[in-house]
């Protein structure tokens, strides 16, 4: 799908660009139905069409395209997770990011400005260094920074040793960065639509029809739609869908909040995360500071969270970046994230034949969008887990082969 990039001015705040794709007539049946037109669902549709020529595909979205977690995340991209499985899928994703705008022919403001993860105690330093060496072993680019070196990368960082949680070191992945989340979704949507995929907004799945252990299609507010294969890509609503199909998943839906400041001069040209004092921050292209932290403590489908969670992360931000203390909070919002017990995704086959699951990306799904879509499309097309998805199956909760990324996920759950 190479071609000239669709360019716009960065200061522009575009309306939802429905002109980028058709308003297709819903068909009675499809080869593949993807439930959820967020980043992962759209990327999956794109790679099904592009890598496998499977274009008789509908992506069903109960709201509007990319209006869920894809519109609500902090756009951080990195691949410096701890375990081999994670290194595999997140690094595959990062490699796809590096060529994505050219490939789909749509600008996404992908910016490899680096991701720095701070350590604030001896234990924290040991944990981060373990992660650093694990990344080295997996050939994932990473550096260890002293506080002084960290300050060279981000001069506004407070490296005083008299603050409550002083910075004692940091990992730095220079290839990490950010992208413009909406544009990523729109790029995938346009490219998938160009190849014949039907994007159906305002279509809520109310039932999943299973006969003799095999999926037959989905009931929706627009009527029954038959399908050879059905692929879940519904993040926080995954367990409500699997319930319709008659099986349980070990997922809990929580609120994850994010926030932005008003537009400021550019002061931060990298991404900085701290799991210990609990904030992550980058500065978007237009100038707003984008921040997030951990999830709210309890299960929720409200897309709303508590102000005390915001207060906590802003306190951390103001200590690390004293210059932020005069910034104003402009907007906060929440998304419904699906968290697995080991903070790793669940991707693969299900107990129902021809029904596939891609979920559990929790607080960090945005970075995985291309890799997840790629691997999921392969899994659906071949009706067998892609090599990178093998260990992400539902079965790991029975075998005990967990992929514990609570530490490397960067935030508490």
């Amino acid at each position: 799908m190479s071609g000239p990039l669709t360019r716009r001015r960065t200061a522009e705040l575009p309306e939802h660009p429905d002109f980028l794709w058709r308003k297709p007539q819903l068909k009675k049946s499809y080869d593949v139905i993807i439930i959820g037109a967020g980043g992962h669902g759209l990327a999956t549709a794109y790679y099904l069409a592009k890598n496998f020529g499977i274009t008789n595909v509908a992506v069903l979205e109960k709201g509007w395209l990319a209006g869920g977690n894809m519109a609500r995340n902090t756009t951080i991209i990195r691949s410096n997770y701890l375990w081999d499985e994670s290194a595999g899928i997140y690094e595959h994703s990062l490699k796809l990011w590096e060529n994505l705008e050219e490939e789909v022919g749509y600008e996404m403001f992908f910016s490899q400005r680096g991701v720095m993860t701070l350590a604030h105690s001896v234990g924290d330093v040991r944990g981060k260094q373990r992660n650093f060496y694990a990344n080295k072993v997996n050939s994932i680019d990473t550096e260890w920074l002293t506080p002084e070196e960290a300050k060279k990368v981000a001069p506004i960082l407070n490296i005083s040793d008299t603050i409550r949680y002083p910075i004692m070191g940091a990992t730095y992945q220079a290839r990490g960065g950010i992208a413009k989340h909406d544009w990523v979704a729109w790029g995938y949507a346009k490219a998938a639509d160009d190849m014949g995929v039907d994007l159906i907004q305002g279509c809520e799945v109310t039932g999943i029809k299973v006969d003799n252990g095999k999926v037959q299609g989905v009931e929706t507010n627009l009527g029954f739609i038959a399908a050879n294969k059905v692929a879940l890509a519904a993040a926080g609503h995954t367990s409500t869908l699997t319930q319709m199909a008659g099986f349980r998943v070990p997922l809990q839906s929580r609120t994850l909040q994010a926030l932005v400041s008003e537009l400021l001069e550019q002061v931060l040209d990298t991404v900085i995360m701290s799991g210990a004092v609990h904030v992550y921050v980058s500065q978007a292209h237009k100038g707003e500071l984008v921040m997030g932290a951990g999830t709210d403590a309890f299960n929720s489908y409200t897309q709303r969270g508590g102000v005390h969670v915001i207060e906590h992360q802003l306190a951390a931000a103001c200590e690390l970046f004293p210059i932020f203390s005069r910034a104003h909070l402009l907007r906060t919002w929440g998304g419904v994230v699906d968290i697995a017990p080991d903070a790793s995704p669940i991707l693969g086959l299900t107990p129902v034949e021809n029904l596939y699951i891609n979920s559990g990306w929790g607080t960090g799904g945005f970075k995985a969008t291309p890799g997840s879509g790629w691997v999921y499309a392969d899994t659906i097309a071949n009706n067998a887990p892609h090599a990178l998805a093998k260990n992400y199956s539902l079965k790991r909760f029975t075998t005990g082969h967990l992929i514990d990324e609570h530490g490397a996920a960067g935030v508490a759950h």
Binding site: H237, Q252, G306, H308, T398
Partner: protein, 92 residues
């Protein structure tokens, strides 16, 4: 912030509490005969309803006792709180 009704102390701010997930998950009666799959369900699988949910909280910064409560995950509305080992009130 939620205002949570501790059955011993009354309504207090959410920040005084910690969350304990789904209530009434009983320890398996015959653990030695349990299959791996049944263990997996006991350890890792919890209900995740969109709507009313019976869940546990502990009043960490108060009486430090555990209790159960009905809460709606779509509206954050609370139903009755009740002490452990007491019969659960009906769904609100």
């Amino acid at each position: 912030m939620l205002s949570i009704n501790c059955p011993w102390c009354g309504a207090r701010d959410e920040t005084e509490f910690h969350y304990g997930s789904q209530a009434h998950v009983a320890y398996p009666e015959n653990p030695e005969t349990l299959s791996d799959e049944a263990w997996a369900h006991y350890i890792f699988f919890r209900d995740n309803p969109k709507g009313w949910f019976q869940e546990r909280w502990v009043h960490t910064a108060g009486c430090r006792r555990w209790f159960n409560v009905w809460r709606n995950t779509v509206s954050h509305q609370f139903g009755p709180s009740y002490k452990p080992f007491t019969p659960a009130p009906a769904r609100p």
